[in-house]
Symmetry: C2
Subunit: 408 residues, 2 copies
């Protein structure tokens, strides 16, 4: 039998489990305090739903679950599809299905929390997990930019509660990107190449982006015009001058203004014309959070006004923001985060025959301690040292004089 977890997955040891439970309960507390309601959906999802979900490159990363019994035999012998179920690659598609199914029972707008697993068959050499948790909040049924502003504020509050500060929320709007590239004279089929290159501006600089775009055969004049705007101190002004009076601009300015008021000195909210996000289902604003000193993003989201309509035939405006739980957990572990308010741990040791007395004593201690009962081991020294390594601060030996004492 294999003792290692399946490739790309991992086991969680007790110390990290405590941190994860703390993180989850704090995030949930902040989200519930803001009037969001948690729901649950299965990790098993109809394979047809997943395939039609416009999930971008995630569609190539779906774990497929095989049919069973006669249906499987038929599929294998006749060359049909052997899979009828997939593991969800995010929590957005299941939410859209859930809302279409249950909307008659829900508040509208519906403010919703999901904290749960998703799966992607990533190449493990990139260090990406194939099984991971996300913490999402979404607002369904609100087309106003107040929905975006609220998601940014509440997500930021969750991160602040976990001790993260000084992070940057980047905001963009797909409609602005499209209008800008159109105004600069790019052809629609050139957009994806521009998005991919512009996304690297932070890493490779303007000259790197320029080189990549020219190499791809895009016209030098429009490439330079684009880079001029990307490098402007306020790209939003420059973009608006070129694109004219789109509703996306006033909506984005509104989101940034209120978000900056709510942020105070705790974090930043900026316009970032290079922000794209990979999913095909986004229709308007997109946003991301980056933490200084840690590459990549710790949260991402956007507006997806046309996904729910695919389930119920009627479009419902929708916007969501997802915290990458694994990424935040890794950052807190790296920082040596210590969990506030943990109860002290005590071990009650007993010799043969004293088990019931040890149980009774431990039960009394549980008012103030997490108290475990252990038979006195043959070599108490190494055992007590191991207790201390595992976070135990106190010990009591039943039948011996004296009360509970600190492990020295």
């Amino acid at each position: 039998m294999k003792t290692t977890p399946v490739k790309g997955t991992r086991d969680i040891l007790p110390r990290e489990s405590r941190l994860r439970d703390y993180m989850q309960s704090e995030i949930l507390r902040v989200y519930r305090a803001a009037g969001f309601e948690r729901i649950g959906t299965p990790v098993l999802e109809d394979i047809g739903n997943l395939r039609q979900s416009e999930g971008g490159e995630n569609l190539g990363l779906i774990f497929k679950v095989m049919k069973r019994g006669e249906k499987l035999e038929k599929a294998l012998s006749e060359g049909g599809d052997p899979a009828d179920i997939g593991l969800r690659y995010d929590l957005t598609l299941p939410l859209a299905r859930f809302y279409a199914m249950n909307r008659a029972k829900l508040l509208s707008p519906f403010k919703v929390i999901q904290i749960d697993r998703a799966f992607r068959a990533e190449q493990p050499q990139q260090g990406r997990l194939r099984e991971f948790y996300q913490c999402d909040i979404d607002i369904l049924g609100d087309e106003s930019p107040n929905a975006e502003t609220e998601l940014l504020a509440v997500t930021a509050r969750a991160l602040l509660t976990l001790g993260l500060t000084g992070f940057t929320i980047k905001v963009n709007d797909r409609r602005i990107l499209d209008a800008l590239l159109g105004a600069l004279g790019f052809a629609t089929e050139e957009y994806p190449a521009v998005f991919v290159a512009a996304d690297k501006l932070d890493k490779v600089g303007a000259s790197g982006v320029r080189a990549e775009l020219l190499e791809k055969g895009l016209g030098e004049e429009k490439v330079d015009a684009l880079l001029g705007i990307l490098e402007e101190s306020d790209g939003l002004d420059a973009a608006e001058k070129l694109c004219g009076d789109l509703p996306a601009f006033s909506s984005l300015r509104d989101i940034l203004r209120v978000s900056r008021d709510l942020a105070g000195d705790d974090y930043n909210a900026v316009f970032d014309l290079t922000l794209v996000r990979g999913q095909g289902y986004y229709t308007g604003t997109v946003f991301e959070i980056s933490v200084p000193g840690f590459g990549g993003s710790v949260a991402g989201g956007g507006r997806y006004d046309r996904m729910i309509g695919k389930f119920c035939g009627e479009d419902v405006p929708a916007v969501g923001f997802s915290i990458g739980f694994e990424r935040i957990c890794a950052i807190l572990l790296e920082r040596g985060f210590s969990i506030p308010g943990e109860r002290p741990r005590a071990a009650v040791l007993y010799k043969a025959g004293d088990f019931p007395a040890a149980c009774a004593r431990a039960e009394a201690l549980r008012e103030n301690f997490d108290a475990a009962v252990y038979a006195m081991p043959k070599k108490p020294g190494p055992f007590i040292a191991r207790l201390a390594e595992n976070g135990y601060g106190f010990i009591q030996v039943i039948g011996r004089d004296g009360d509970i004492r600190p492990i020295s």
Copy 2:
């Protein structure tokens, strides 16, 4: 796109989500207070590990995940196994793998908590879920019956905390069953038929069990001897008279005696010779909890001293007890359980332009309320009624005279 969840799975609405979060945090609190430590393992498990796990009928219910890329093509074209991963059918096999992998870092004995999903491709017409939660505690590395006694006591305490009382813990030992059937003259290959029939004693009575066994062609004399023992008021005495002085008897008497002391008047602990449990991996004690008024069991477990050895080459004594989370949740919902200590819910309504003021007011309310912000709807009456249906007790309209008020 399909709006219904995959067959045999279900969506969890906000009200049930609150109950589930409460249940999980209470169970976790009780388990941690008793000195157990939580771990996490992936739901994805090596298919070979699952197939060799002696899981009884669960082995036929494994959801198989397909290989990907070239490996899949090769398997399909050459008639090889298209699956390399399975979804775990319980939390015991992943725990054994985890322990074999990480034992050098863990306390020994290791007292461990798992609260997580498992999957079984059950026939949905039987009302069984294909995706469900279990809450397990296990003690690894303790061969003494104190381990069983502690699991029974701590699991019972978790159920009491959730408001269940008067339940019955049934205990048996596979070694006693085997010895008894041997002493009565049954052949080894007849044991499974006897187990299946005896398991129905509660439902069909002694005459029903007798009829089934005779129909299967088992000898009348030994069947009647067996029924005599099953119907004894203290079957343990009768069994011991027949089987002689096995260590399993003193161990079982010890577990029952201490468990009854700890139980007081809150619940019962009884010997039940008809208790078998389906899994092939159990090697000694088996136990189950039933709640009056609800058929079937709400928790089950037993000793599996030889599973970890399959991973690390050296047997490690192990015993576990699993709460059926979905079953308990269904019982509490049916009883109209109300969650203690929930924060009151308030809605802050605003008109155009008042969104920032509404955010500020809601944030102030969050010291005492879960406070949501909503734009004033066109028809406030039905919206406020819907708020009340969803558990909101208070409302404030920004810009109108007066403070927060109860929804009347």
